[in-house]
Structure formats: structure tokens, C-alpha cells
């Protein structure tokens, strides 16, 4: 058997009968169990979140007041670049993949992910990539400083930090493609009998569509950074005007990846919220089928709007109009989703545990981010606002209050199932209200800064912007502090939390809540027979073995 062949072999072979949980470092290094790999992903994502967060605080410290306090502009630019890259590729995306690893097999009644050893590979590629980004700060010329978008010609000129970054992107791309293949095959081929596509839970749908998006666009990103690499070292001129190339071409290819990428970070969040809102409203999800179609149409539309990032590149007016209207069109399926979540809560008997708080916070703040997004889609306005702090405010509303809040909601929601213990509800609620307050203190003023004309990616600014920047910096540090509360709560509850019931949430009705808590190390080694309602509601379960 070749190496590839054995990598594709499911590690979990029921014929062996007896499964000691491996222990020590090898349990993690050679992990093939989807729960172990899920945990690895989540821990990795959290540490990257802290790393990226520290970089964000380095940025906010410098912007506390005008003038240069701490860093030279070159270093400052490295911070913004690495902050963006690490949050996107190191924190948010791996966190969703980790959750999918943990929860998908439990939700659809599969014994594990389809390709357990490939799963191990997809995770273990990530730490080396992160390491490359980290050490790039120490090489001559420092880390990449062209912004997370790595626009040419900046990126074709910088020092070897850029090469390390490109290499890291290649590795992370391979990792996420392998992870996505695993998710797709698991969902399409390993569902338990009775778990049909149009019945399966929204998180499975969201993960499936996201995985397709990843497979479709990560190779495009890999392609475009490879062109940068050959421009840098092999004498090509893809983006070099002097050699007949065109730097605007870089932007077209990059954003062909870039806009679907923002939905890669948003769709799984939609999926998570579509579990939590019904659970704590004690009502089925309103408009399940329309949710599935809305998610799919968002994914398809996301390929047709990339040039809304390029309104100032001198596009013809007809192209500007096309991309403007196409972008606005995405607000329709997104609006359907928000409507359905509200419809789910309508007349529900709601309770407000921490996951629900984060989910409702998500809906409110994501909608704010959506509104500023529609504002930016208007070409005439975008020409004024592009590359100002208004854009920074916009995408942090959808990424921090969107993706990140949904991840907090998910971790609180599934914590009992993963660990067998309850987290501290009062600290959880405190974490929510604290984050909500300081998030808004940090990012709301950035709208005003942007409207007043403050450019993004600068270490120094005009005196007139001082007050709002000081406010934003205070907010950022308090927000950061609040995440330590989350960390402490998780660590403490992992050991000392109250033992959790198999179904700690009264309204939770998907498959993962039908099995013991904590979830058995090998769950569903024999597929159960299911009677399933919409959004994965389990009406009856027969059989299904774990050990």
C-alpha cells in the first residue's frame, strides 16, 4: 500500500473491537480521532486569536494618540498585515474547521471524518505555517508589510518576509483544502440512514457550502501568490507594468478569492446561529428550506461581486454599476436569514443563556456590519470611503461581532457535550456583556473616523482624529482583557465545572444531544437508524453504538 493509500485509510477500523485511548503526546501528534483533531484546531485557533489580538493591541497602542510613540511605520505596517492574515487564516478559519470536525460526525451520525489520517495532516500543517509567519518578524526586512491583501507592486518588492508569508499561505491553503474535502465527503457519504440532505442541521449545510467555497477559491489565492513569487524571483512580469504586466490584474485575481473568503468566515457562523436561536427559543427554525437556499445563493453570488473592492481602479462605469447592483443583491438572501432568525424567536419561550446572548449579539451587530456593507457597495460612496477607517469598522462588525461572536456562542453551546462539564454561566454572561460593550466602544467610533477621512493602515494621524482614536484604543484594550475571562472560565470549567447532563439545553434536539455527555471517544461506530425532522431534529433513534 502506498503512503497516500494508507493516509486515506480510515484509521478507525471497527474490526479491531478494542480501543484504548492513546495517551501522551502521541495522542495529539498522531491524532486521527475527529474529536481530538477538533480540539487541536480549537486550541490552535485560540492561540492564534491571542497572537493576532496582541498585534491588534500593538496597533491600537500606537494609535492611542497622534505622533509616533512605539513603533516605526515599517513595523506598524507589519503588525497590521500579520494581524489580518493571522486572524483570517490562523484564528477564524481553523476555528470553524475545528468545530466542524468535532460536531459534524456527531450531528449526522458518522463514526468519524471520512479520511482520518488526512485529517491529521490538515491540522499539523497549520503550526508550521504559523511558525513561518512568526519568524518572518525576525528576518532581514521584517515580516510582510503590504497589508493582508498583499497587493502588487508592494508585495513584489519586499524582503524575504514576503517569501515566508507566501509559503505560509500555500501551506495553510493546502491544509484548508484537505480539511474541506474531508468535510464534504463526510457530509455527502457518511450520513446515518434517515439523515437526508434536506433534513440535515444548518451547521452541516453551512459547513458543506463553505467547504465548496474553500476548494473553489483557496487554489486561486495560491495561484496569485505564486505569481507574486515568480515575479519576485524568476523574472516574470505578471504585475510589473515596466515588463508589460499590470498590478490591477493582481487585485482582480486576489478579490476573486477575497470576496468568497469573507463568506467562508460568515456562512459557518450563520449555521451555528441557526442552531442556537431555535434551541433557546424552544421553537423549530423558521423557514429551514429558505435558509438552505439563502445560504446557497449567497455562496453563488459571492463569486460575482469581487470588483466592489476595486471601484477606484478606473473601471468603466457599466462595470461599476454591475458590481454595485450585484453586491446589493446579496443583501436579499442575507436579509432572508435575519428575518428567519427573528421569526424563530417570535413568540418563542426564550431564555438567555450565554450562547443565546452571543447569538442575539451576533444578529444585531452583524446586521450593523451588513448595513455599512450596503453603504460601501454604492460605488459613488465607496470612492470616498475606500481605505478609510469606515471600512475597518465595517469588516470588524462582520468579523468580530459576526464570526468571532458566533464562535464564542458555539464554544459555550457545545462545551458541555465536548467536556462533560458546564462552564460558569455568570462568567459567561459577564464575558458577553463586557465584549459587547467594549467591542462597540472600539469599533463604532471608527465609522466616524472614516467618514471624516482618516485613512487606514497608518501609524500616525491628524490631530482632529485624536478623540475617537483614544476611545477606540481604550475599548480595544478592555475588549482584549475580557477575552482572558473567557480563557479562565474555559480552563477552570474544564477541570472543576459542574458535571453536565446529556442534554443540558432543554430545547436542543439535534443528534449530538442524543448521546452521552461527554461524547464517547468513539461515537456511532455503528450508524443509528434515524427519524429526522427539519434542521436535524431527531424524532426517533434506533441502534447506534459507541465506545
Amino acid at each position: 500500500m502506498t503512503a497516500i493509500d494508507s493516509a486515506l485509510q480510515p484509521a478507525h477500523d471497527t474490526a479491531h473491537g478494542h480501543h484504548a485511548k492513546p495517551s501522551g503526546i502521541t495522542r495529539w501528534l498522531f491524532a486521527t480521532n475527529h474529536k481530538d483533531i477538533g480540539s487541536l484546531y480549537l486550541w490552535f485557533a485560540f492561540s492564534m486569536f491571542i497572537f493576532g489580538g496582541v498585534l491588534a493591541l500593538c496597533i491600537r497602542a500606537e494609535l492611542f494618540r497622534p505622533g509616533l510613540q512605539f513603533w516605526q511605520p515599517e513595523l506598524f505596517n507589519q503588525f497590521t498585515t500579520l494581524h489580518g492574515l493571522i486572524m483570517v487564516f490562523g484564528a477564524i478559519m481553523p476555528a470553524f474547521t475545528g468545530l466542524a470536525n468535532w460536531m459534524l460526525p456527531l450531528m449526522i451520525g458518522a463514526p468519524d471524518m471520512a479520511f482520518a489520517r488526512m485529517n491529521n495532516w490538515s491540522f499539523w500543517l497549520l503550526p508550521p505555517a504559523a511558525l513561518l509567519l512568526l519568524i518572518s518578524f525576525a528576518v532581514p526586512g521584517g515580516a510582510a508589510a503590504a497589508g493582508w491583501t498583499l497587493y502588487a507592486p508592494l508585495s513584489t518588492q519586499m524582503g524575504m518576509g514576503m517569501d515566508l508569508t507566501i509559503f505560509a499561505i500555500h501551506i495553510m491553503g493546502v491544509s484548508s483544502i484537505m480539511g474541506s474535502i474531508n468535510i464534504i465527503v463526510t457530509i455527502l457519504n457518511l450520513r446515518a440512514p434517515g439523515m437526508t440532505m434536506m433534513k440535515m442541521p444548518m451547521f452541516a449545510w453551512a459547513s458543506l457550502i463553505t467547504a465548496y467555497l474553500i476548494i473553489a477559491v483557496m487554489p486561486v489565492l495560491a495561484g496569485v501568490v505564486t505569481m507574486v513569487l515568480t515575479d519576485r524571483h524568476f523574472g516574470t512580469h505578471f504585475f510589473n507594468a515596466a515588463g508589460g504586466g499590470d498590478p490591477v490584474l493582481y487585485q482582480h485575481i486576489f478579490w476573486f478569492f477575497g470576496h468568497p473568503e469573507v463568506y467562508i468566515m460568515a456562512l459557518p457562523a450563520f449555521g451555528i446561529v441557526s442552531h442556537i436561536i431555535p434551541t433557546f427559543s424552544r421553537k423549530p427554525l423558521f423557514g429551514y428550506t429558505s435558509m438552505v437556499y439563502a445560504t446557497s445563493s449567497i455562496a453563488i453570488l459571492s463569486f460575482m461581486v469581487w470588483a466592489h473592492h476595486m471601484f477606484t481602479t478606473g473601471m468603466p462605469a457599466t462595470a461599476q454599476l454591475f458590481f454595485m447592483y450585484a453586491t446589493m443583491l446579496i443583501a436579499v438572501p442575507t436579509g432572508v436569514k435575519v428575518f428567519n432568525w427573528i421569526g424563530t424567536m417570535w413568540q418563542g419561550s426564550m431564555s438567555f443563556e450565554t450562547p443565546m446572548l452571543f447569538a442575539i449579539g451576533f444578529i444585531c451587530l452583524f446586521t450593523v456590519g451588513g448595513l455599512s456593507g450596503v453603504t460601501l457597495s454604492i460605488a459613488a460612496i465607496d470612492i470616498q470611503l475606500q481605505d478609510t477607517y469606515y471600512v475597518v469598522a465595517h469588516f470588524h462588525y462582520v468579523l468580530v461581532a459576526g464570526a468571532l461572536f458566533s464562535l464564542f456562542a458555539a464554544v459555550y453551546y457545545w462545551f458541555p457535550k465536548m467536556t462533560g462539564r458546564m462552564y460558569s454561566e455568570s462568567w459567561g454572561k459577564f464575558h458577553f456583556w463586557w465584549s459587547l460593550l467594549w467591542f462597540n466602544v472600539t469599533f463604532f467610533p471608527m465609522h466616524f473616523l472614516g467618514l471624516a477621512g482618516m485613512p487606514r493602515r497608518i501609524p500616525d494621524y491628524n490631530m482632529q482624529f485624536t478623540d475617537f482614536n483614544t476611545l477606540a484604543s481604550v475599548g480595544a484594550f478592555c475588549f482584549g482583557l475580557g477575552q482572558l475571562i473567557f480563557f479562565a472560565n474555559m480552563l477552570h470549567s474544564l477541570r472543576h465545572g459542574k458535571p453536565a447532563a446529556a442534554r443540558p439545553w432543554e430545547g436542543a434536539d439535534t443528534l449530538e444531544w442524543q448521546i452521552a455527555t461527554p461524547a464517547p471517544y468513539h461515537s456511532f461506530v455503528e450508524a443509528p437508524d434515524l427519524e429526522v425532522g427539519e434542521n436535524g431534529r431527531i424524532d426517533a433513534m434506533h441502534g447506534g453504538k459507541h465506545h
Binding site: A114, S180, P219
Partner: protein, 180 residues
């Protein structure tokens, strides 16, 4: 459910298809280069590939009739300025660079800041006088009694209507209050 459970073979087949999709998308990224190139040619957007037409246009153009230019200056009563064009009139072919100098004196014994405002006669001529440099672009500070010369550099647009054969350029200089 009637569908038989997926076999290892099914899983691998799907894996291969997905891998293929990833490879196709990688190639697609490179395929965008010729597509982009073709689109730019088609729409005429690719200014890089367009031959430099400016020089050839100039060669091809038939010589235009010269325009009579007159330079003038006025000062409102009570203000400390003396403004004098060093050239009164000249003839210039549209498209030709013209440089004339103005001399401005602060006739008072205090420090003053002035702003020159241009005026064109006929007013319709304004859009055909393309200024490259002018003292009217900025406020000018003068020490008591100081005299300075300033250049005005401009081109008369080649699209100037045939009937417009005489243009007067006049300046008025004002005090900028509160700035001295």
C-alpha cells in the same frame, strides 16, 4: 433509507473529484491572465498596450492660427499693491507653452499677504487657458516695500474655437485679512 452506505471506494472517488476541482481552480487563476488581457484589448481599457498617440497627434495636426494674448492687472482703490505685467501682448499658437512675468510690489510699510484672482476676457476663454503655474495658485506674503516677480506659465488649448482669436488675462490682487 434505501441508498446503500457509501463504501471506501465511493469516498475516494469523491476525494479525487474534489482534488480535481481544486486543481482546475488553480489553473483557472492563471487562466484569468489571458482573459483579463483580452478584455482590456476588447474594451480599449489596457492603456499599457495602446501605442503612445500623443506625439503622433501633434505631428499630424495642422498648424493653428495664433491667438492674440493681452495681459493686464488692476488693484482696488485703497489696497497697498502695485501689479504690473512685464509683457503687454504677444501672439501664441494654441498648444505652445507661454511664459510671462508679473511684478508685484507691496507699497505699504507693513507685512501683508495677498491673493491674486485671475479674470478672462471674454469669460468663455477661461476654459481654454490651461495654467501650469501661476502666483494665483497660492497666497503670497510680502515684507514692507517688497517687490517680487512671478511667472505665469500656460498653454492655450488646441481646441480653442476658431472665432476666439484674442484673449485678455487680467489679475486683481486682494489682501488676505488676518494673515500677516
Amino acid at each position: 433509507m434505501d441508498k446503500p452506505p457509501a463504501t471506501l471506494h465511493d469516498n475516494r472517488l469523491l476525494l479525487l473529484k474534489l482534488l480535481l476541482l481544486a486543481c482546475v481552480m488553480f489553473v483557472f487563476a492563471w487562466g484569468l491572465i489571458p482573459v483579463y488581457d483580452a478584455l482590456c484589448r476588447l474594451t480599449g481599457l489596457g492603456s499599457l498596450q495602446r501605442p503612445d498617440e500623443v506625439g503622433s497627434q501633434r505631428l499630424a495636426a495642422t498648424p493653428l492660427a495664433p491667438v492674440l494674448l493681452t495681459f493686464d492687472a488692476t488693484v482696488q482703490p485703497g489696497l497697498p499693491w502695485q501689479v504690473r505685467p512685464l509683457t503687454r501682448t504677444l501672439r501664441a499658437v494654441p498648444g505652445e507653452f507661454v511664459r510671462v512675468d508679473y511684478e508685484i510690489t507691496n507699497a505699504s510699510n507693513r507685512q501683508v499677504v495677498g491673493q491674486a484672482i485671475p479674470r478672462y476676457l471674454p469669460a468663455a476663454a477661461a476654459e481654454y487657458v490651461k495654467k501650469l503655474d501661476c502666483f494665483c495658485f497660492a497666497q503670497q506674503a510680502f515684507a514692507p516695500g517688497e517687490t517680487r516677480r512671478f511667472p505665469v506659465v500656460f498653454v492655450v488649448d488646441k481646441n480653442v474655437p476658431a472665432g476666439l482669436d484674442s484673449i485678455t488675462l487680467a489679475y486683481t490682487v486682494f489682501d488676505v485679512p488676518g494673515r500677516s
